[in-house]
């Protein structure tokens, strides 16, 4: 069965700090990996996605993620976070038929 794991449940950073959120997946077949963000009171929004090709993926708002096949990981990074990045971040993996969510990471950025 496919699974997606996020190990950081709550991360607190100061503005301008660097961010890395962990995501590990375990399933076979075609790899489709996503990071979504949910700002307070808003719907889930796509940050970036990886299907194949260059393992370093650039997304919106300065976010990027690196697919490392040997580690089954797809960590999300941002060099310098802002207060407005406070949100919940979800890693998803799977296929068009079924996407599996990780448990989510709540990021709080202190001004």
């Amino acid at each position: 069965a496919q699974s997606v794991s996020q190990h950081n449940h709550h991360v607190i950073l100061s503005e301008a700090a660097s961010l890395e959120l962990g995501c590990n997946y375990s399933y076979g077949g075609t790899v489709n990996l996503f990071w979504y963000v949910q700002y307070p009171g808003q719907h889930l929004q796509l940050l970036l996605k990886y299907f194949s090709g260059d393992p370093l993926v650039k997304g919106i708002k300065g976010f990027e993620a690196e697919f490392i096949k040997s580690k089954f990981s797809f960590n999300l990074r941002k060099p310098s976070v802002q207060w407005s990045d406070t949100a919940e971040y979800f890693c998803l993996g799977g296929s068009a038929r079924q996407l599996t969510f990780g448990s989510g990471t709540q990021l709080t950025v202190l001004p």
């Binding site: 996020q6 489709n32 996503f34 979504y36 808003q42 719907h43 889930l44 929004q45 796509l46 996605k49 299907f51 979800f90 296929s95 068009a96 038929r97 079924q98 996407l99 599996t100 969510f101 990780g102 448990s103 989510g104």
Partner: protein
């Protein structure tokens, strides 16, 4: 604008009752997936509808059923509500054929069972 419309946004039901939630997919999308997000947890996959049929199902009891209409909109029905069914129910739409670009999510329906 999420592109995916869910209704109602909130509702309160009594244990044992039945509820119907509705979803209109993003324009151009033909596949609808439903997720349940309990407080403090990640969303759990309920089922997916494509071409008016249930194509995939997660680990949810038969009390959870759905329907997809010819215009691709979808309903989620839950019978014999339990307190544990209280959650945010998310609808996501996508394209069922061709390249897969991910899901577009609605804002959800918050169901409270009392």
């Amino acid at each position: 604008d999420a592109g995916v419309t869910q209704s109602p946004t909130h509702l309160i039901k009594t244990r044992g009752q039945q509820v119907t939630l509705r979803c209109s997919p993003k324009s151009g999308h033909d596949t609808v997936s439903w997720y349940q997000q309990a407080l403090g947890q990640g969303p759990q996959f309920i089922f997916q509808y494509y071409e008016e049929e249930e194509r995939q199902r997660g680990n949810f009891p038969d009390r959870f059923s759905g329907h997809q209409f010819p215009n691709y909109s979808s309903e989620l029905n839950v019978n014999a509500l339990l307190l544990g069914d209280s959650a945010l129910y998310l609808c996501a739409s996508s394209l069922g054929t061709g390249p897969f670009y991910g899901y577009t999510f609605g804002s959800g329906t918050r169901l409270t069972v009392v």
